[in-house]
């Protein structure tokens, strides 16, 4: 073995030591915190929202029809709010939020602090899309 080969071996060894030490130091300095994420299924809100739109309230109106009508009709909007309250009470909903995005305006009622909304689409008489966002929080022990 030549003296130059010994130098190469020493260099290789030093490089490996640096690689290992560098990894260890880096992992110590930049330790990533573990994030605990709870997976929630939340399918009760989706089913509720879909059925909410299809519900016929006590005066015989469908919620989806009232939503469409409410764009330019304040009376229909008041009926919609009353009908919604009726459904929410029946379905053991503690808090709710309904946001309706018409092509030009937005109407909403209920609370306004929901992390997750279920989005549903309706079409008005002019085939323009209305986006309905529903957020609900059920009473403890119901769902």
């Amino acid at each position: 073995m030549f003296p130059s080969d010994v130098k190469d071996l020493i260099t290789a060894f030093v490089l490996i030591v640096i690689l290992v030490a560098g990894s260890a130091i880096y992992q110590t300095l930049y330790k990533t915190d573990e994030v605990l994420k709870e997976i929630k299924i939340n399918d009760e809100q989706d089913l509720f929202s879909l059925n909410y739109l299809k519900t016929k309230i006590s005066d015989g109106s469908l919620i989806s029809e009232l939503i469409i009508e409410s764009e330019n009709n304040d009376g229909a909007f008041e009926t919609l709010k009353d009908g919604t309250e009726e459904i929410m009470n029946f379905a053991f909903v503690e808090e709710y939020s309904v946001i309706i995005l018409y092509p030009t305006i937005e109407k909403k009622f209920g609370e306004d602090n929901f992390e997750r909304y279920t989005e549903l689409k309706l079409f008005d008489k002019d085939e323009e899309m209305i986006l309905v966002k529903v957020g609900v929080r059920f009473k403890e022990g119901w769902v």
Binding site: L15, D33, V35, I41, L47, F90, F92
Partner: protein, 137 residues
């Protein structure tokens, strides 16, 4: 390895070391973005609740999931869907002016219970399923 080549390597070893330090940190910095330290927790009781109630609703629904056909809400129809003998069920359907109850097996006193908002003839209704298992958890 000849003497000239060996001395060339030795003379450049400083550069190699600097290169490797930079390379190591670059790789590890990239790994930091790639590695996933997120721990996902699934509540299997909640998952089981969801499976049970969705199966019950599907069993008694008409063509649209969540729209209940009251003619299907009976023990014979429900037994067709809930064939697992390890589970006991009590299922309640509440409408504004009526309540129906179907039992399959004996749920006992200690059972899990889940409710959903459904429709009967487009009118508001609630379905609630209670279930218990004959097998140890």
């Amino acid at each position: 390895m000849n003497k000239k080549g060996g001395s060339t390597l030795a003379s450049k070893s400083g550069f190699y070391i600097i290169f490797l330090i930079l390379f190591t940190f670059a790789v590890l910095y990239s790994v930091k973005f790639i590695e996933d330290k997120e721990v996902r927790r699934v509540d299997f009781f909640q998952l089981e609740d969801s499976v049970v109630i969705n199966r019950v609703i599907s069993c008694v629904s008409n063509d649209n999931f969540g729209e209940i056909d009251v003619n299907k809400f009976n023990e014979i129809e429900l037994r067709k869907c809930l064939t697992n003998t390890n589970f006991n069920f009590i299922i309640m359907l509440d409408t504004v002016d009526d309540q129906k109850i179907v039992s399959i097996g004996d749920v006992g006193l200690d059972y899990r219970s889940i409710g959903r908002y459904v429709l009967v003839d487009n009118k508001k209704a609630r379905i609630r399923a209670g279930y218990s298992k004959n097998v140890p958890e």
